[in-house]
Symmetry: C2
Subunit: 336 residues, 2 copies
Amino acid sequence: MGVVVSLDGERGKKPRLDPLSALVKDDLKAVNELIIQRMASPVALIPQLAGHIVAAGGKRLRPMLTLAAARMCGYEGRRHIALAACVEFIHTATLLHDDVVDESDLRRGLASANTVWGNKASVLVGDFLFSRSFELMVETGSLEVLGILSKASALIAEGEVMQLITANDTETGETAYLDVIRSKTAQLFAAACSIGAVAADRPNVEKEALETFGMNLGVAFQLIDDVLDYSDSSGEIGKNVGDDLAEGKPTLPLLYAMWNGDKEQSALIREAIENGGLDNIDVIKEAIESTDAIAYTANIAREAVGKAVDALAILPPSQYLDALHSLARFSIERTH
Amino acid sequence: MGVVVSLDGERGKKPRLDPLSALVKDDLKAVNELIIQRMASPVALIPQLAGHIVAAGGKRLRPMLTLAAARMCGYEGRRHIALAACVEFIHTATLLHDDVVDESDLRRGLASANTVWGNKASVLVGDFLFSRSFELMVETGSLEVLGILSKASALIAEGEVMQLITANDTETGETAYLDVIRSKTAQLFAAACSIGAVAADRPNVEKEALETFGMNLGVAFQLIDDVLDYSDSSGEIGKNVGDDLAEGKPTLPLLYAMWNGDKEQSALIREAIENGGLDNIDVIKEAIESTDAIAYTANIAREAVGKAVDALAILPPSQYLDALHSLARFSIERTH
């Protein structure tokens, strides 16, 4: 199944994460050092467990957004390093709790922390990282940042609860699905971007532009993540193929195939959402392909990326702006 | 087994929680209203689950400490209401996660939230309440309070992880046990008290006095809680008798009996700590009685209460001071 989605008018120029990574490389190194430093604890299990998930790495997309946003806004200080670390701590805490909630055994291709150390330790170390994030935020001295990130955290938790409620629910509609992904994923992207403008002390219009960019980027990112769960390249993102299906998560590709498949396909997908499990994954992947569910989902992602890019139009040209544009396109063309 | 412990020199004047409750009654009503208001969410499961644990009540001891501390320091504004609600939210979030970690089925005599709604929802609603607490703190505008409560939250998580590690560990010493209870319980008492002085904008010496009061009160409170777990009045605090024993938690009364019991008693307790379970609860309760483990534990609690009361000596006489003295004595004489 093809999951590479091209942006119209952007052919021949392959979007990549590299330009952003290159621009924030030194800052990100400082963020990583701060993360290691601040997850220290006299209780050895805490840095062990936290180190496992932090070292597993991932792309550090969210802290990179904070770094790039701050620099793009002309910020020349050092506070953005701590803010980026705060964002990554919140993200890591939610991953630890997510894996407990989802009963996941793999995270970025490694055994998940709950598999190695158990659910209890994962819950508590998540709480620790979350608290550490707020401790570090306080040191940066910005009540505005604290307001943005505490609100985002509450919305993330709301989104996770919504997702829990819609699991195994075949009546989940597109609006409910989009509400979930906006809360559970896109809110932190939005906050990560807007606090860059806050660090740079830019006017509200720029904070809001970056928030809109992050929100739409996050929506696109999660839509493609949900597409990739049905792709053979799942292995590349360190997940099992069909993780969402196994848990009966009604993501948009699956819902669309259920709504538009033939009677037999619909019944199979309905059964899969209700009961979870991978018994019929091949037939369901076929249904997703034959109904063009991937193209439908990718199109919504493409629209979101368009809104993200438009939001940044008020900002002057810069290499950071170019890198964020490239990242936005990458988010819908990535296969990992 | 007798668990009522008298403070020397205080005979004939029964310490009670009532004076404190009466003094902060109106403020506490406002706190309860704010709690209900701020646990609202469009995701109905959140106020349902949070409401279950909030409505179950408990004594609201921690928010009462914040209210009394602020008033005792001469504070006449309204910010202490929000701060007290923040403290209760953090406490409630930790209770939700505790019950998941401890696999408890009872909380304050009611089915625990994880029993009713499952572990997943309890983890996520805990996260929500924790985030809500920080959102509300930001509104009060005090970075100092945010610093105190974020640090306390990280220490609580550390204490919970330490407790997880020492579970089933017969080598746990008195120092390790005291470290655990200082972190998991007393830190929030200390923070709840000191932020009262912060709200009132009092000098550091008063903030520290209240912190010391809270820390020692919290230690005494947890010591007596651990004593009560082996008392027939466990039912009054809504726990099952022997909850700690069932989980193999090496609390001080149990450790002391293991250290000082005869060979057979020690072996039985060692086995109970290693494997959990209530098979030998009657023999173990006998061992706790015959070794005077309760008196030993209560004596440490009494010493802590002495330090708590001494710390407040720098404050001028007031009805709030009297009420806190009474509360401190109540903490070691309570049977519920």
